[in-house]
Amino acid sequence: MDGFAMGGYGAYVWSCFALTFVIVVFSDWRARLRHKRVYRDIEVRLKALGDRE
């Protein structure tokens, strides 16, 4: 398909778009993981406290 070649600039154009989406998704994925970890850590601590009482 001609549209993907971008008149010889395909490698430049596609890599820019791909990199942008990969980094944005990666950043938000990391943030999601961190939120889950923080939540779980608090949960574990609270449960441990509850058991002791």
């Binding site: 549209g3 971008m6 008149g7 010889g8 600039y9 395909g10 430049y12 154009v13 890599s15 820019c16 778009f17 990199l19 942008t20 980094i23 944005v24 950043s27 938000d28 943030a31 999601r32 961190r34 939120h35 923080v38 939540y39 850590d41 608090i42 949960e43 601590r45 609270l46 449960k47 509850g50």
Partner: protein, 248 residues
């Protein structure tokens, strides 16, 4: 007005509200990005000088814009936190840094990849726009490293806010570098004197809007994590987590 503001700035209220708000930013944001990407890659005509390489503008300008937007939020939130001692403000500043760093990195990468075929160089040391944008990236890294090095959250908040405020100088330089000094980088198109055909301009504006909305939801997610961590010993977090329904 003040009452409403204080209520919003109260951690439990914000934590609940942001969970509801986040998808209302992310979904339209992603839809706009999808539409504008399609337009920018396949529908919009190529540039009379740059041909199809010009299409890189549809990711370069939004990421560069957000790299500065994130810093503005980080520094403003830091100042608000210092002056009014609002805890949520410091959480906002801390949350904005990694996202800002990601967008700064992207603006540098896409700019470099665009510069190679058009200007004839990946990178030019000594160009004021490129150097000040690189310094912006290092300011984000410095901010995050500073926070990481200080265990006490309140101290980390203060030190970070001071660094962010000092770094505003660089933000001003990034913005005006192409006007104050000679640069390989062209002047601004979107919000200033440059011209752009309407059919090229509209998808770019929609792309900027879409990325801004997505940025908003990314920021909210990170603020929520910050708030949750900072409030981990409070009663509302305890009640939320131990409640039968559970939170998230």
């Amino acid at each position: 007005m003040w009452k409403w503001f204080h209520q919003l700035a109260s951690p439990p209220h914000f934590y609940r509200l942001s969970a509801i708000l986040s998808p209302w930013l992310a979904i339209p944001g992603l839809a706009l990005i999808a539409y504008s990407t399609w337009q920018g890659l396949f529908v919009v005509p190529m540039d009379y000088q740059q041909g199809d390489a010009f299409r890189i503008i549809y990711v370069h300008v939004p990421t560069a814009y957000l790299s500065m937007m994130a810093y503005t939020i980080m520094a403003t939130a830091g100042a608000v936190g210092l002056i009014w001692r609002i805890k949520l403000a410091h959480a906002v500043a801390a949350a904005a840094a990694p996202i800002g760093a990601a967008f700064t990195f992207l603006s540098l990468c896409t700019g470099s990849i665009w510069g190679r075929p058009m200007w004839g160089t990946w990178w030019e040391w000594g160009d004021p726009r490129m150097m000040s944008q690189l310094i912006l990236l290092f300011l984000y890294f410095g901010y995050m490293a500073l926070r990481g090095a200080i265990d006490d959250t309140a101290k980390a908040d203060k030190a970070g806010a001071v660094l962010a405020l000092v770094g505003i100088v660089n933000l001003v330089i990034v913005h005006f570098s192409v006007e104050w000094w000679s640069s390989l980088h062209q002047g601004q198109t979107v919000f200033r004197r440059g011209t752009m055909d309407a059919e090229m301009r509209l998808p770019l504006l929609l792309m900027i809007l879409g990325f801004t909305l997505l940025f908003g939801s990314m920021l909210l997610r990170r603020i929520r994590t910050e708030v949750l961590y900072r409030e981990r010993r409070t009663r509302w977090v305890r009640e939320m987590i131990l409640s039968p329904r559970g939170g998230s």
